[in-house]
């Protein structure tokens, strides 16, 4: 019993750190997009830079979701599953990368998506934090 609770605590500690990293990643994306709008960066550099982070971000999120699945954290898994499917679908359709030729046309969509993800990671950050504390309290009792 204690071991399981202990594991949960560690899992959510890890999840909190991951969510924080993803959060920063999204903030970076949004800053880059607004830089593009203000003409501080050209679309080619922007896409080269951002495309390095797209797959790591997706993989990190998928890894976290799968961890929830194998550790049996159903609530956390179900919360993350839609985003996982969304990302997977984008990769399947091969439109997960930013395309410099179309970036100005698709910019509003990209920004919306990044803001949505930002909010999602923020909420999940607090959720994981809460779950971690609950797990730690349960352990100490």
């Amino acid at each position: 019993m204690t071991l399981a609770w202990c594991l949960t605590g560690w899992l959510f500690l890890f999840a909190v750190l991951m969510a924080a990293a993803l959060l920063f990643c999204m903030v970076f994306f949004i800053i880059m997009f607004s830089d593009l709008e203000c003409d501080y960066i050209n679309p080619i550099d922007l896409c080269n830079k951002l495309n390095q982070f797209v797959l790591p971000e997706n993989i990190a999120h998928a890894f976290l979701t799968i961890l929830f699945l194998i550790s049996g954290q159903w609530t956390a898994f179900i919360l993350n599953a839609p985003l996982l499917l969304f990302n997977a679908n984008k990769i399947r359709n091969k439109n997960h990368m930013y395309d410099a030729t179309e970036i100005f046309r698709t910019l509003p969509g990209h920004k919306k998506e990044s803001f949505f993800k930002l909010g999602f990671y923020l909420l999940s950050f607090f959720y994981y934090l809460y779950r971690m504390i609950v797990a730690l309290i349960a352990e100490s009792e």
Partner: protein, 933 residues
């Protein structure tokens, strides 16, 4: 020949309009103008004209083509205007009789309207003669001003408004092709808007036009009108000999606003005794440069008002060194020639090398700096090195196409003048075809060839001209044959229109960065994936040219390609260009359509500027505009082919209005059609073709709905009319033409290559070429007026009157010409008299005549000469390099060709596609709210 002046009723004058090549008839008392000869004390309608009598079979048989409902549009009792071939040339006295049948018609039409209040849609009981289309009341000005005045009274609109909106009913007024050649609605600027009273202050509509010639003052007014606001720009177009060239400012004194960087233009204000000028966009007061009033050539004070930038909407400045990032680079041409088995067999290699050879003198090279390279490719790359002083080129073969390298650091990129000095280049071009004539290698390393060409020119930039006859099959950019007849016509079809390999996009970006532009000439008879290949020209401001199933053994194919290729080579090349559109405060450029790379929110990068290419730029109104007029300025900074940095500035000003009716009255249907064509293609790539069609159709419905609810007395309720402004009358038929264009059309039979090429044309053609491409021109040749095909009083050729695009106009004994700027069809009716076939084709009878691509013989009779002159003029009258093929289409000939020609008649029903009547009635239903909207 009798001129129309001599036949006019009193009070009328006729004026020759050079732009339209016909007489404009003016009623001197009222200033009323019309294209048709006016009604007057002319002889009464005479049914027994010699022409009509000579064609006894005509009346009965043409009913077979006409669907019953279409008669309502064109009159049930159409009088023949036929002039059979066997007739001797008409006598001068005969000409008025040709016009007689409809002479009384305009008055009749007006009387009908006043009597019934509303013109009947179709009333077969009308015994009297309906107005004939040709001579009927389809004039630019509505025939019944009194009825309109009543309507205007109800709307509270006075006649004294700057724009008076005139409503037309689409159900009763069939489209008149002649309206497309009318100028756009007038731009009525407030008085004193310009600093000089010049008629050129606003750039000509062929350079820059707007979908609205009066800008709404708020974005809510704009969205209320539902009309999209956009600029349609062709900054570089060929200037014909009888046009004024673009004025050039050579003294490098360039006055620009300190804040918004606007170039000085005719719409600025001079203040402070002429020492300062106020920017017309941001209102900042700027100092006039010291040298502005100094004539540097004569070294004495000059006249400020003679400076062209203060009187012309289109000017070109010679830019000083501050405008250069690096010294002007020479023009570079790299030819990539496919020498695989298919390419050599089709004769493409021979034709291409011969064309380059013949056009070496026309390649711009004033200062002898132009560089040239030839790389051939099949599955290997063949470089040609020509060290200075040698006449024998050495061939270097690179068969490692996975990692492309240049076999030699020098002598691959040749100086054109030096390479020609000893005949080395000529020698090379003459021998290429022989070198590869027995090449049996199949396959194409086009991607590696492009990379090699790029490597060769990357320090300089320039133009890659790629000629390919096969699908790229090896190395980077290799493509698979993804043509699948099963998914044509389905939702998945738009996938075939997108680039299959990311290489063509990433490479395009690399090219754009290195100032390299790519032109594609594609020749394959099998699937070549035009959609992927055309990506390169699209983002590097090049152009795709497609010659499906090219075979140089057919003289027509070789001629067309050689002509177009030669024109491309001879085009003045403009390098390292960037384009930016600036606008008055409150306006923002929101999205860009055309062949270029969008480098930042408002900066368009073009490695070379393509002449005669059109761009559409959507404009957003961000805040309320308080100024009486707005100014939009397009500036292109580029290097000319003789190493001079120049800026072309195109400025137009538009009045600002707060009235919805003015917004409607000032809408430009041609610009709207161009914009919607661009948007439709874009949408078909990101969504589905069906979505693109729906979006265009819904836009039209929205515009008509708003027009009905806000501009007519019917309001939101149902109406028997389908009202639209007189200036938008052609929009529905243009949209119908667009929906039926090969690039957009609903069909499961269009090969993806043809569709992709058509889409490339739809997004790159300027308005002058795009409009005929979606709404072809249709002439009847066997009964054209006697002056058609001859040189008119102003020295240009008179074209026959264009007909509406409906097969109802096709007569069984007739000869017709349909052209869309890309192809010309010569339609021969199955009952064509042998004399006609003899006169035009030099063949004994219709049965011996064969359909297909032809060159028309020039024969020793006036009719043949006139037809040839008309075809010649059709090929030359538009700007651009295109040289349309001529197809002879027999009425009972091979079905594919016949159906292709008939598909150009967009007002007809074809398969699932509606006829114009059906289209308009479905529009009416939607507008009246019966369509589920």
């Amino acid at each position: 020949m009798a001129t129309p002046e001599q036949q006019l009723p009193p009070g009328w004058t006729a004026e020759w309009q050079q732009a339209h090549e016909r007489y404009l008839f003016i009623e001197t008392a009222t200033g009323h103008t019309q294209w048709e000869p006016p009604a007057g004390p002319a002889p009464p309608p005479s049914e027994s004209t010699p022409a009509a009598a000579a064609a006894p079979a005509h009346h009965g048989k043409r009913r077979q083509y006409a669907a019953g409902q279409t008669q309502a549009y064109y009159g049930a009792e159409e009088t023949s205007m036929l002039q059979p071939m066997s007739q001797p040339p008409p006598q001068p006295g005969m000409e008025p009789q040709l016009f007689t049948p409809g002479l009384a018609a305009p008055n009749q039409f007006a009387m009908q309207q006043q009597a019934s209040g509303q013109p009947p849609y179709f009333d077969p009981s009308h015994g009297q003669q309906q107005p004939d289309y040709l001579n009927g009341p389809q004039q630019p000005v509505y025939p019944n001003p009194n009825a309109l005045a009543d309507q205007f009274g109800q709307m509270g609109l006075g006649g004294q408004k700057p724009f008076s909106l005139q409503t037309a009913n689409l159900l009763t007024s069939p489209p008149d092709p002649r309206e497309l050649s009318l100028p756009p609605p007038e731009i009525r600027l407030p008085p004193n808007a310009t600093v000089t009273p010049s008629q050129f202050a606003n750039a000509d509509s062929s350079y820059q036009r707007s979908t609205l010639n009066a800008f709404p003052n708020t974005s809510s007014l704009l969205s209320k009108s539902k009309i999209p606001l956009a600029l349609v720009i062709t900054p570089y177009r060929t200037v014909s000999e009888n046009e004024q060239p673009v004025p050039l400012v050579t003294d490098t004194v360039i006055a620009r606003c300190r804040r918004c960087r606007t170039y000085i233009n005719p719409f600025v204000q001079f203040i402070d005794g002429g020492n300062r000028w106020r920017c017309c966009m941001c209102n900042l007061s700027n100092e006039v440069p010291q040298m502005f009033d100094w004539d540097q050539t004569r070294n004495q004070p000059g006249d400020r008002w003679s400076r062209p930038e203060l009187s012309h909407g289109v000017v070109e400045f010679v830019a000083p060194t501050e405008y250069m990032v690096r010294p002007p680079q020479p023009a570079v041409y790299v030819f990539l020639i496919d020498v695989s088995h298919t390419a050599v067999q089709s004769g493409m290699v021979a034709t291409a090398t011969r064309t380059i050879l013949e056009n070496l003198d026309r390649i711009p090279d004033e200062d002898e700096r132009t560089k040239i390279a030839v790389i051939c490719f099949d599955v290997s790359l063949y470089f040609f090195s020509l060290p200075p002083g040698q006449t024998d080129p050495t061939m270097l073969v690179v068969s490692d196409v996975e990692d492309v390298f240049l076999p030699k650091p020098t002598d691959l990129l040749l100086n054109l003048a030096e390479a020609r000095k000893d005949g080395g280049l000529e020698n090379l071009l003459t021998r290429i075809n022989d070198m590869f004539k027995d090449n049996s290698i199949i396959g194409s390393a086009m991607g590696p060839a492009l990379q090699a060409g790029f490597k060769l020119m990357v320090p300089i930039g320039g133009k890659i001209i790629a000629l390919s006859s096969s699908l790229p099959s090896i190395g980077v950019g290799a493509l698979k044959n993804r043509e699948d007849p099963k998914i044509l016509g389905t939702a998945k079809e738009s996938g075939l229109l997108q680039a299959a390999s990311p290489f063509y996009k990433t490479f395009a970006i690399e090219c754009s960065r290195a100032q390299v532009s790519v032109d594609m000439f594609l020749f394959s008879s099998a699937y070549q994936d035009v959609a992927s290949l055309s990506c390169l020209p699209h983002y590097t401001s090049g152009q795709t040219y497609y010659y499906p199933a090219f075979n140089a053994a057919r003289a027509e194919d070789a001629l067309k390609f050689a002509h177009e290729f030669g024109e491309v080579l001879a085009m003045p090349i403009m390098l390292e260009a960037i384009m930016r559109v600036r606008a008055s405060r409150g306006l923002r450029m929101s999205s860009f359509h055309g062949n270029f790379f969008v480098r930042s929110t408002d900066l368009l990068a073009m490695p070379t500027v393509a002449t005669n290419q059109g761009y559409a730029i959507e404009v957003q109104i961000e805040e309320t505009i308080n100024a009486p007029f707005v100014v939009l300025q397009t500036a292109i900074l580029h290097t000319t082919c003789y190493g001079e940095r120049r800026i072309r500035v195109v400025t137009t000003a538009y009045p600002v209005t707060s009235s919805l009716s003015e917004v409607f009255a000032s809408a430009d249907q041609v610009a709207l059609a161009v914009l919607l064509a661009n948007k439709a293609v874009e949408r078909s790539l990101s969504h589905k073709l069906e979505d693109a069609r729906d979006a265009v159709f819904n836009k039209l419905v929205e515009i008509l709905q708003t027009y009905k609810s806000s501009m007519t007395a019917a309001g939101a309720g149902a109406s028997a009319q389908l009202a639209v402004g007189e200036n938008l009358k052609m929009l529905p038929v243009l949209i119908l033409g667009l929906l039926k264009n090969v690039g957009i059309r609903q069909s499961a039979q269009i090969p993806p290559d043809i569709r992709a090429y058509s889409q490339a044309l739809l997004t790159s053609l300027p308005a002058q070429l795009l409009i005929p491409y979606i709404y072809p021109t249709f002439y009847s040749l066997h009964n054209m007026p006697p002056e058609s095909g001859t040189v008119g009083p102003d020295g240009t050729l008179v074209m026959p009157p264009p007909l509406p695009l409906t097969s109802e106009r096709l007569e069984r004994h007739g000869l017709f010409l349909i052209e869309d700027g890309q192809t010309i069809f010569l339609w021969v009716g199955r009952d064509a008299v042998p004399q006609l076939v003899m006169d035009v084709f030099n063949l004994p009878s219709y049965d011996v005549l064969r359909g297909g691509k032809t060159t028309l013989p020039l024969l020793e009779n006036s009719f043949s000469q006139r037809v040839n002159a008309i075809i010649q003029k059709t090929r030359e009258m538009r700007r651009g390099v295109f040289y349309p093929h001529l197809y002879v289409v027999k009425e009972d000939g091979e079905p594919p060709l016949r159906l292709w020609a008939l598909s150009a008649l967009v007002q007809d029903r074809a398969d699932v596609l509606p006829s114009y009547q059906q289209f308009v009635s479905s529009l009416k239903e939607k507008v009246n709210g019966n369509g589920g909207y």
